[in-house]
Amino acid sequence: MKKKILFDSFLFVLVALISIGVTSCVTDPVDTVKNCDERLITVLNPAISSKMTERVPLTPRADTLEGKTIYLVDLQWGGPEAGYSVFEEMEDWFSRNMPSVNVEIRRSSGGWMGDDPALRKEISSKKAGGVVIGIGG
């Protein structure tokens, strides 16, 4: 009789343990995943959808810069002198290698993040052949 009680108790505990494991896998799969390693779980996606910005084409290019005016626009990243001599070196290169190109160096009053409508207007009104704008970094 004593043996029977022990056996029944053993069976009861075994069934209870199995039940707990099964039930918890069903109701709280993440916390019990160690007991069911291959269980598949579903989670929400943290990533944010990105919509592409509307594409705008570049303006058509002319064949050559010869005889045209080129603007070199310094956005003053790091200050008014930080990258300015890059443009002076470009101006020097044009004077030696393409002397027909007229070079105008300007500092943008809007700085790195800003705008300079007056300068844009000047560039447009002069019908510039091209603009080199920089310099970050």
Partner: protein
């Protein structure tokens, strides 16, 4: 740069080329897809460009473009003269390349999902709680707002209430934290992403500090409070994912900042404020019973290390330390004992009086001020336009002492700490106007 170039191309029909350090140019594709829309042509110099002597700039101009590997000047001429490719002629919203994200991830094992979250850099690489539907639904019970409501926008990217709940779950938050998290997420786009080491500060004001169990006392700035820790971390996760900031693909700070793990998330010790010193939120016009979170941007903080001295009291030390800051804004975090000393022994009846004194007494040599690249980049254009005080600063000789903190309102004071030592931090964080947490309940 790309906006300026686009305007010139569009308005004047003038060919334009962006010339920049390779560290900036590497992000041109991201800018094209999500921001500018025009396939600006670029040439790339080696980095750094700014501040290099002319001899180096000469070598850059005579060297090769790092994108095309052609001689730099030939690359520039080509960019201004070569016919457009089909890609460069495209108009309208491109069908290809958009990045719609499904609401649910494909079912997978926990190990695989954890790996995926790390691979996609959606975490701070500390363990996270996976955002199951049940957990996110539980988090959403913390607010009356609907799950699809937009909390914050950055270009076309939006954080909804449900996304914020995902980040809250990931960071380990409780539903009662959620209104504060929503308020924090409403500024997630300000998470520091800069070539410099930008970081954030989060200060919580009002009764909610106590309701959430936030620490405003002993070790307020240390890792000793669940609420301080989790709220700050949620901003990190939200900010990273919002900005799609991944290493070498969007995140571009050269040194980064360790402060970005928690964003200096603290609560003000309002109960310990000296009489007459108002809580931060009340200074901003909110009621003492309002729950408010204030977020700031900055880079650095400096500790007093030791306790206050009678012969050279704290406000003089603030002044001395603030000479090291960029000079745009400051936030001083001080123990209540320091606040008490300043009021009782040195006569500062309000926080505003202290800010005013500092504004008038912090001086720095003009050369030092302009030696800070952030000041030079940000304020030189204003100086050139004749805007004061920057025009006057720019005319001063390098040795001339100037008072950079012209706006006393940009010097904030937060009282926090446990009264163990008369110590403080001087920081360069500039706090924005606080956000009402209660509207997110």
């Amino acid at each position: 740069m790309s906006r300026f170039a686009r305007s010139i191309e569009l308005e004047g029909n003038i060919p334009t080329v962006g010339a920049s350090g390779v560290n900036v140019v590497r992000f041109k594709d991201y800018d094209l897809k999500y921001s500018n829309g025009m396939p600006i042509r670029y040439v790339a110099f080696p980095f750094p460009v700014a501040g290099q002597p002319r001899s180096v700039h000469k070598s850059y101009v005579e060297g090769n473009d790092l994108l095309s590997n052609k001689p730099m000047m030939q690359a520039i001429i080509d960019a201004l003269t070569k016919p457009l490719t089909d890609e460069e002629k495209k108009e309208g919203i491109p069908a290809e390349g958009a990045a719609p994200e499904p609401r649910l991830l494909k079912p997978d094992t926990e190990d695989n999902l954890r790996r995926l979250f790390k691979d996609r850099e959606w975490t701070d690489f500390n363990p996270i709680i996976l955002p199951t539907e049940e957990r996110v639904a539980a988090m959403l019970t913390g607010t009356s707002h609907t799950s699809g409501e937009v909390v914050s926008k950055m270009g076309s990217r939006e954080i909804t209430v449900e996304k914020a709940a995902v980040y809250a779950v990931m960071a380990g938050a409780k539903p009662e934290y959620f209104p504060t998290i929503l308020a924090i997420c409403s500024q997630a786009q300000s998470f520091g992403n800069s070539t410099s080491s930008m970081a954030n500060m989060i200060v919580v004001s009002g009764p909610i500090r106590k309701e959430l169990g936030m620490n405003s006392g002993i070790d307020v700035m240390g890792p000793f409070s669940e609420a301080n820790s989790v709220l700050g971390r949620t901003f990190t996760l939200a900010g990273k994912i919002m900005g799609d900031l991944r290493l070498n693909a969007g995140a571009y700070s050269t040194l980064g900042s360790n402060l970005q793990y928690n964003n200096v998330c603290i609560a003000e010790n309002e109960e310990a404020l000296p009489e007459g010193w108002e809580p931060l939120s009340v200074q901003q016009g909110y009621k003492p019973t309002d729950n408010v979170v204030t977020i700031g941007i900055g880079w650095s903080y400096i500790s007093s290390v030791g306790e206050a001295q009678i012969n050279h009291p704290p406000h003089m030390m603030f002044r001395d330390y603030m000479r090291s800051l960029a000079g745009m804004s400051a936030t001083i975090v001080m123990d209540p004992t320091v606040a008490g000393l300043l009021k009782d022994a040195h006569g500062f009846k309000t926080k505003a009086e202290l800010s005013e004194w500092l504004s008038k007494n912090v001086e720095v040599a003009a050369g030092t001020y302009w030696g800070n690249g952030v000041n030079t980049t940000a304020f030189t254009p204003m100086a050139l336009q004749g805007l004061e005080p920057f025009a006057a600063f720019s005319k001063a000789s390098p040795e001339t002492l100037i008072k950079p903190f012209t706006n006393a309102g940009a010097i904030q004071v937060v009282v926090a700490g446990g009264g163990i030592q008369t110590t403080w931090f001087v920081t360069d964080f500039g706090l924005r106007r606080g956000i009402l947490i209660d509207k997110w309940k």
